[in-house]
Subunit: 433 residues, 4 copies
């Protein structure tokens, strides 16, 4: 069984290597190829060597290689993962810095920054998908490149390859947070997720099959629990907010319902430490220094600071369940197909799905909860514009997506930020130029 990791030179790769090693008894990868591009060659070599040491130490039988030749790597692949960052952290810094200059949150998932991350990423992933569909058409592509929901929607709507699943660690993190709140094991927690990537809500929380939603919401609205993963700010929720929506929010919701406060915090943080991208660049430099240590044979603890905890867990669980036709429930980004009646049939949602060898089958949800239907529909309508703009390179659609974004909306700022970002990222946006 062959696994190909595209973006193999990423600082995250040791996580997924660890995941593959740990699951080898149930997900027996025999061939593992790390792929990257010319610009990432040096990093790829460092990661490749570390991965080799990790595999050797573990004693599992995996044949590892690393290469810049994607087409060759894809031959006979069973699974492909993508974790790429077109333009690198320097591009992310612009995604954050430019909106902030105009008084907007420079958010890399569903904000102005996320729009441009999508614009840069989608054309590259379209190419990768077309390669897969020609070279290894039976392979599953597990995409955890952000904005994962938007990117996956673009691929499933417009690429030749239809075996694509988007993965995010937020649902996993939410289960962990609930387990913390309720003092139980994360494996005992089930959440009915409703919505879309980075904008998903939990409509029901079950502990060992029993509905404990009310208790969890009560604790959440009463306590001072630190309910947030490492990589995003968190300000806690008003008791009345939780009582009113009667749903479990995810940490990204603060961008939309506490915009003023987050913006203030972001601006302050920016003046003290620069953008998140710039902080991460420093973390990365330190990480790669560690990775180069020939004595390092395991994933270093410091990687956790990087955020994205459980990403690799989510991806490896998913691939193992597909491989074993396990039929368990995991939360993935796939096409709606009616699971949520009031979202478009072919859009991508983040949904609990039965994971089988034949792919993920979404569990039917029905209608969106009335309390949040307005904003979920708005966000999805916005995302559909981003997808179409990314694929067509149409300026009008790009502008429409910017102005429909709930964190932008202002026609003047939308134009200013759009034009500045289009210029700043010119080299990565051939479709617009």
């Amino acid at each position: 069984m062959k696994l190909v990791i595209i973006g193999g030179g990423s600082s995250y790769t040791p996580e997924i290597i660890e995941g593959v090693i740990d699951r080898h008894h149930q997900f027996p990868v025999t061939e593992l190829v790390l792929v990257d591009i010319e610009d990432g060659k040096e990093k790829l070599n460092i990661i490749g060597a570390l991965a080799q040491r990790m595999i050797e130490k573990s004693g599992v039988s995996i044949q590892l290689s690393w290469t810049l030749n994607r087409q060759e790597a894809l031959m006979n692949a069973d699974f492909v993962t993508t974790q790429i960052r077109v333009g690198g952290l320097a591009a992310r810094a612009k995604d954050e810095r430019i909106p902030l200059k105009h008084g907007l949150i420079g958010q890399e998932t569903n904000g102005a920054g996320g729009i441009f991350k999508a614009f840069r990423t989608i054309p590259v992933l379209m190419e990768i998908c077309n390669d897969i569909s020609e070279i290894c058409p039976n392979a599953w592509l597990i995409n955890f490149t952000n904005p994962a929901g938007i990117v996956t929607e673009a691929l499933l709507k417009y690429s030749a390859h239809k075996k694509v699943i988007g993965v995010c660690n937020i649902p996993f993190n939410m289960k962990h947070s609930v387990a913390e709140i309720m003092g139980c094991n994360p494996e005992e927690v089930e959440i009915e997720f409703i919505g879309i990537n980075h904008f998903v809500f939990g409509s029901k929380v079950l502990i060992r099959g029993e509905d404990k939603t009310d208790q969890v919401l009560a604790k959440l609205s009463n306590s001072e629990l630190n309910y947030s993963p490492a990589n995003i700010v968190s300000l806690g929720w008003k008791k009345e907010f939780i009582e009113s929506i009667k749903l479990l929010p995810n940490p990204y919701h603060q961008y939309y319902f506490q915009t003023d406060e987050v913006l203030k915090k972001d601006i302050k943080a920016f003046h003290e430490n620069g953008t998140r991208a710039e902080i991460v660049q420093q973390v990365e430099r330190e990480l790669f220094q560690k990775y180069q240590d020939p004595n390092l044979q395991v994933k270093p603890k410091e990687l956790e600071k990087r955020g994205g905890a459980y990403y690799s867990h989510a991806a490896c669980s998913l691939m193992a369940s597909i491989y074993n036709n396990k039929g368990d429930i995991q939360t993935v980004n796939i096409q709606n197909h009616g699971a949520i009646s009031d979202l478009p049939f072919d859009c991508v949602i983040e949904v609990n799905a039965v994971i089988t060898k034949d792919g993920p089958k979404p569990v039917t949800i029905g209608r969106l909860p009335k309390q949040v239907k307005a904003v979920i529909q708005q966000m999805k309508g916005f995302e559909e514009l981003v997808v179409e703009a990314a694929v067509t390179g149409d300026y009008s659609l790009a502008y429409a997506s910017m102005i429909m974004n709930p964190l932008v909306r202002n026609e003047s700022k939308a134009k200013a930020v759009l034009d500045e970002l289009l210029e700043a990222h010119r080299e990565y946006l051939p479709q617009f130029h």
Copy 2:
């Protein structure tokens, strides 16, 4: 844990008793009550005594009782099953005989006979549901009274109790038939079911997770396989039919696509042996004679002739999975909620669902296959009329349901059959009189 069997005096009861005994390790019933009505008192006593002997022989620790007092029986129930026949086999004989007289198939599921079985059954089950919702509101009602889909739709739309699941053995039988065809174990077979009770198709067949639909359909259209359970006639399918619909039909489909041939066979059989109801009456008499034998301590082999094989298996599997929050896939009759986009949101469909302590969650299907959308929508539109007519007792709706039935359609025959059946079943149809 307490299980209540309503219609406990049924000849089928030994099946479910056997199922409960066999699954005791994973579904540990501690209290079991058989309930019936005054008219069924004698049979109830026979079944009660046999069940007692079966339990004793098995050595499992279940406290058994039988009673005519339904309300008392329902106290503290966790699960309730219903297998009732309002008017008994005598009524079924009329359901079959009267349509046949007018040249129509007297079919007890979705034909003219089924309409009247629904009319007689729904008011009684509405009362039962209202009792449950007052006396044991947390109990799950597992309904396998036919027409199971129509009855379950009536209960979920109009009764006070919403924890109702309809069960049929057809999906189970289809898996067994596929296992036979493919020479594998039924547990290894998964079928994606699409449609409604007694009119369900298999859109995908997987063996150990691999898609084998084409092979199964090829075998089905080429061979002389006896692809049918014991209780319905079967004539085999034209190669072109299977190639054209590209779906696995169920044995009841012959009523709709081989109507002339089935009718001819039914008329011939009727002249030789009377209606199916009359044959079954004879089988029942013999069964109850067996059941009375104080040496009989197990379900007698002869019960299998009665049809309905695997009904008890389907019901016991379902209850065990709910009890254990198992999360496996079973095929049940529950509300659509968007699982099939082109059927009404609140209608009942027969669908693969994830079975949990929190109830069954339908797996999303998407759109109906274009080849059979016409007839599935037609059948569901017909069923909705039957449900509303049964609940309101409205003559116009009853007539509309009769004329919209795909086996009736003729306005004159519809009227003749309707009026004759309304008269024949007068005592069981208070809502119409």
Copy 3:
């Protein structure tokens, strides 16, 4: 303003010529071209000459010509009408004769015959549409070639030209019948039509704006009114049928709800006079003899026997309203777009529409009446299969359409009739061979 009549050699043409002459004050056609194919040359010459005499007699200023060169005729056209019969009446005779042989009604709209009329017609009209879209893209195509609903759906889904409107005289005839029943002027009657071509119901009848539905239905179910146009048989409706569906049926509904009786009548008529096609052939021969009379300067009375009364009225009214941006309500066959919520978005329905220069805008209907939802959805599902089979030439789809037809359904007969008709019409069905 230029009008092109494709199928100009049809015996119906004098009707439309009369319509154009009568409406010249509000619909001032200046150029009129009759187009036909080589096989119809002789008839075209007869019709052309008659039309010339009619125009001269009327004194209106229209420049008439007739030609076999379609492309040339289409230059600068504003309106195009199509009334073609691929294979002529000889083909229709086969459409009727072959099903009848197998005990099926050989019906040329939505029956087995209609399927093949669609298969023969759609490819030819696709070519015409492609011509129009290249040569005169702003022209409206008014299609009254049967089965008008199915043909129009094929063109709007698959051809390059989107300005297509299907027209049928049934809604017009129904208004006339209501006027007769109610003793008022047809112009005072409005009917809310619901459904699809040849399967349309009236859900509301208004006389001078007042809702008189109940009175009309009461008269309809009580009286012996001769409620039917000349060209189809009619048997009257059961009081209970009308009371139950609470809708105004159209005369074609007898094929579906009085199938046995119509079949009996058809077989009897066939043995006495041959098929309807053969009767019509005789009528046509007589008509063309009349048409050749150089003294004939008006549409002869005998044309009315031919059926299709008001077809020309429907077409001319429609063109006049478009031309004048009149904004009145007419009943046309156009894409649904949500007007009926429980039919597919892009299918063609027969619906009241506001007629403007910008085209027809369907009036929103909402949900189908529950009494007939089953059969309307069935019929539309069947039609979608016919359209796709006609366009692709796929045998499986053709067979699926035949078996899903409410007048066929039997898998054996479906196959026999399908194969025989495919063979009989071989020369006109290149897509299948």
Copy 4:
């Protein structure tokens, strides 16, 4: 024919009196009753006397009366209009002042102020509707009380009376603006409206039936045209905005896409002149002084300053078309019923409808334009929460509606503004207390 004006003491009433007089030839009102409440007695007397003078001067034969007894007034009514302001302009001042204090636009249609206008108005109009449904069930209620869309939705969903039509002058104003831009007569302009009250877009502009959308949008995005009615601020649109959405915005859209700029202007205006409500109070005082002048026999010019121009025109046109079964197109607020596929079936939209004696029939639109689907769905989702909160008095729903409002969104501000307004309007919000 009897017309009842509820809120007859409104300063707007002379407008509608003028409209009724001017249209008397085609809309022959014979009896006209002005109704108001105790608090409005004095104003009602002034308006009554003025109306009497206007009628006398015109010479039309209308019997006028005014009363505080609503039930009596409604006897035998054919049409009822409502133009009420629960709590008067003092309440409006609070609706504007309190949000502004928290940095939010105090907008009386779909902003925080509008939520509370709906909360105060809906219970009163529910009572009126229940009266109508008992006293004069055949009467049409023409509602132009704001927020007209939300109020009409509440009445059509929850009141006993279903003959309710909401009217707004915005569509009419937009036609006038287009006529100005294009230098033509307003009667020659047709606009395809898409969306909901105060949030409606024009998707197509036709002049004398010809599609001139591109020209209108080009002029709109290029020029400095004063494109706005008197009663709302207007800042003009960015060329790119118009090019991007490809739709005609309405003046209220500036609140959503130019929020920062409008807010700045509002705050400045507030500091200079107080709220709009306070300006209007001054205008009203002056108007009533004029109205008292016994020599005044016509609507004074000054009324136009009051805003709401064409409201009376819209209402009178609508009533005249219903009365005459005219079948013309007018833009009204009625239930969707599928006219827009991606909005809820039973919600109220602002839509072109065919106006008949049998009521308005919405013209089918199909899908929302992708450019603005996000925000229209969001706004409607918000409105549904307002309606349900207004009817139930549920605090959680009220808070949810406030936070889902596109001009609020912030959870802290939402709570502060909500609590303060609930307190400020306590006497008019019995359902919440």
